[in-house]
């Protein structure tokens, strides 16, 4: 999905301009916002059709057990929204740049940044949060640990589409294994694993800090990450739509070099 959506949308504006079909739309009574929204819906719905083609596989997975309808629906809903964001961003790039090849490439760069760049950024940012901590244990011994603080940079992962989808998917009822004080949540499907990982980053359990007194240790928190990611996506999409609309306004005062209106 992340690959086809930019391809669908990256030419909608500048490609239309190159073909000479944009200006004929702009002289009608359609407003720039209507043109931008209409074009976005068109490419988004093509993306959704492509998404729908994968439903049989999900259905197959469901019959194999474990995965509920609600879960599948949630995953599809979120993926559908994310496709919309990618389409909107590619469209804005298409409206900003003169050449459709440039905008297509750049929308891949943006998509890759979201999918991979966020991971890299997180990996690079994590060492910067390292802190020396002096811990006194129950026996009164002191020792130093170098501790990084993922809870300060977890948000770098929030815009990652895979994180959003994984974290937004309702949990498969986890098997909870208690052995004394340790509560083990066992989830073995990939989405839940990703989700657990990022949630732990958000509120890490520094159990060793409480080495002196276990009773002070708070219960592990389970704060979701996806609302932030999804909000970011929606905002990014909306901002892109506004940019596109702005760029479609006529009469034009300045044209990019080498662009003719018609």
């Amino acid at each position: 999905m992340l690959i086809i959506s930019p391809a669908l949308t990256a030419q909608t504006i500048n490609g239309d301009r190159e073909r000479g079909t944009l200006a004929t739309l702009q002289v009608t009574r359609l407003s720039p916002a209507e043109i931008a929204t209409g074009k976005l819906l068109a490419s988004w719905s093509v993306g959704l059709v492509a998404l729908a083609l994968s439903i049989p596989f999900a259905g197959y997975a469901m019959t194999q057990g474990g995965i509920t309808v609600v879960r599948v629906a949630a995953v599809y809903g979120v993926v559908a929204l994310l496709i919309g964001t990618v389409c909107a961003v590619s469209q804005a790039l298409s409206a900003l740049l003169a050449r459709s090849i440039t905008s297509a490439l750049l929308s891949y760069v943006v998509t890759m940044t979201l999918a991979v760049g966020t991971l890299v950024a997180f990996a690079l940012a994590l060492p910067l949060t390292e802190e020396r901590m002096v811990i006194t244990n129950r026996e009164g011994y002191q020792y130093t640990v170098v501790q990084s603080h993922p809870e300060r940079v977890w948000w770098l992962l929030a815009p990652n589409p895979f994180v959003i989808v994984a974290d937004a998917a309702p949990r498969v009822p986890p098997r909870i294994v208690r052995s004394g004080d340790v509560i083990d949540i066992e989830n073995y499907d990939p989405l839940s694993m990703i989700s657990n990982e990022v949630r732990q980053l958000r509120s890490p359990d520094y159990w060793f800090i409480y080495a002196a007194d276990w009773s002070l240790r708070p219960d592990p928190e389970d704060k979701p990450v996806w609302p932030y990611g999804l909000a970011f996506s929606v905002l990014l999409g909306a901002a892109s739509l506004v940019i596109t609309t702005y760029r479609l306004r006529t009469p034009t005062d300045r044209l990019p070099r080498g662009v003719r209106v018609a």
């Binding site: 200006a23 009608t28 009574r29 006529t250 009469p251 209106v261």
Partner: protein
């Protein structure tokens, strides 16, 4: 054989033509119905390049106005400004009473624009294409449906109604583009080179369509780089070159001014040449016939009357089919390639 238009400028024709500029311009501006398009001192730059350097003219309702100039003269740029797609950097334009910069919506509702380049959406059929634009102009469904049938009938594309748009030939696409510009019954029509790519029959049809629209009261502005292409379509001609207006004429005046060579045929060629010599009328013998030097229609009529009065048995005085020529004053700015000189006869059918 070479038309006198090829001679260096500065002859008597120059003076006459200059005089007619003022008279036509003032008559047309005050013509009843008022202008659909007023362009006053419009400038437009692209970077440091001046595409329009103070263009001014008017296109009245009820008439077809031709915008004629060589490649790069700024015709397309001007039409883009009038169609509210491009901002003028200086000066003002009024289209159907609205300023395209201030009230583009008002201009769009009243204006049909047909670009010179014509792109289409691949998947749509002719019917869907027109219906789409009808809806884009916010017409209601039943109006659109009726309009589509009516317009396709007008341009003879009815048989292609369910064909995909991209299979149409260039000329057919051109005609479809015209229907698109007409779908919302605009009062002002801006057509960029509508005749290019049309075969002679389609040109005649285009002429009839445009004349019909003008007769219904629309202001029609048509661009071309060939004057002859619009000779029979336009009521008025605005000559532009290098982004400026260089002349504004009524087509009838231009036609009256135009000098053509006439061939005289008489039952007795000897009597004819004697009579011509006696009267001091310049003539030459070409291909076994007698040809008069270039005359205006009025001069030709006088000559004929004189010959008949002198008892010369004149059989006919056909004008050689030379096309209208751009007046001398304008020639400095207008590319010789687009002069209907040696190539002119090709354009005349």
């Amino acid at each position: 054989m070479e038309p006198a238009g090829q001679a260096p400028p500065g002859g008597a024709a120059t003076v006459e033509v200059t005089a007619s500029v003022e008279s036509t311009a003032s008559v047309e501006v005050t013509a009843p119905g008022g202008p659909g398009v007023i362009v006053s001192d419009v400038w437009r730059f692209f970077g440091s390049f001046t595409a329009l350097g103070g263009m001014s003219f008017t296109a009245p309702y009820g008439q077809v106005t031709a915008l004629v100039g060589p490649n790069g003269a700024g015709k397309t740029t001007l039409l883009l400004i009038l169609a509210s797609l491009l901002k003028p950097h200086r000066g003002q334009a009024l289209v159907a009473g609205c300023d395209p910069t201030v009230d583009p919506a008002g201009v769009r509702a009243a204006t049909g624009w047909m670009p010179d380049a014509f792109g289409v959406y691949d998947q749509l059929t002719v019917r869907e294409y027109l219906r789409f634009f009808g809806q884009a102009y916010k017409l209601d469904r039943s109006t659109v449906a009726a309009r589509v049938t009516e317009l396709l009938d007008l341009v003879h594309l009815t048989e292609f109604i369910d064909q995909p748009v991209h299979v149409l030939s260039r000329g057919q696409k051109q005609r479809l583009a015209l229907t698109r510009a007409l779908v919302h019954r605009p009062r002002v029509l801006l057509l960029d080179e509508p005749a290019s790519g049309l075969d002679p029959r389609s040109r005649v049809e285009l002429r009839d369509i445009l004349r019909g629209l003008a007769a219904q009261g629309a202001a029609v502005l048509v661009s071309s780089h060939i004057l002859t292409e619009l000779e029979e379509i336009a009521d008025r001609v605005v000559f532009v070159s290098s982004g400026r207006t260089v002349g504004e004429y009524a087509m009838a005046d231009l036609r009256a001014q135009a000098k053509r060579a006439y061939r005289v045929r008489a039952l007795d060629p000897d009597v004819l040449s004697r009579a011509l010599r006696d009267r001091g009328i310049a003539h030459s013998t070409v291909n076994g016939g007698v040809e008069l030097a270039e005359l205006t229609e009025e001069q030709a009529a006088q000559t004929l009357a004189g010959l008949v009065a002198a008892g010369v048995p004149v059989v006919g005085l056909p004008a050689r089919r030379t096309p209208l020529r751009v007046p001398h004053v304008l020639r400095a700015g207008i590319d010789a390639d687009h002069q209907p000189g040696a190539h002119g006869a090709d354009h005349q059918r």
